[in-house]
Symmetry: C2
Subunit: 122 residues, 2 copies
Amino acid sequence: MLQHSSSLDLAFQALADPARRAMVERLCEGPASVSELAQPFGMSLSAIVQHIAVLEGAGLVRSQKTGRVRTCQVEPAALRAVEKWISDRRLLWERRLDRLGEYLKDNPDMPTAPKDKEQTHD
Amino acid sequence: MLQHSSSLDLAFQALADPARRAMVERLCEGPASVSELAQPFGMSLSAIVQHIAVLEGAGLVRSQKTGRVRTCQVEPAALRAVEKWISDRRLLWERRLDRLGEYLKDNPDMPTAPKDKEQTHD
């Protein structure tokens, strides 16, 4: 569980940077060499290599060197773990809204649900 | 677009912390006061307040003070924006796998797709 939390920490952290998100976006369309990844960003190769290292550290990308060319590809499992965390939260949230909706249907004169009111008190 | 990127930066950054993710998880079940949020973490109120400030700054949570009690609730729009970014990437990835699958079906003797092979060269 701690391990899982830590992977999610690294994945969210890696995706907090717009250049790294754009690199993941590019790699979701297919593998690319480091210089192909660098091209659209007008960034130095060393900056790109640092971003790739962060993405690899978070398990979102893996790379392989063949001769002088390093090719990167996305690791969909890590993306799926992030997506699952978010969609599980959405399900929780939607279930709560459903319960609230049912309560309000059964109690049409109640302006807000009592649970929310109770929770404003310490 | 820059504004949108910046919101995503802040949302991913805020969710990179396991305590903040647990707080979002709790708030997806319903609003909670600051001390209700603090309880399961064995954290000081001031640490919790700092985490709430990060979540509010990222638009993931909003809070309201009534008398002496501050009540927090989740802002589902920001969670949805994060979920959308991830699921859009998954769609890209799946479309690519579909195309690869079709290609391999049409070319059963080809061990790997030619596009990937081309991209290993700079």
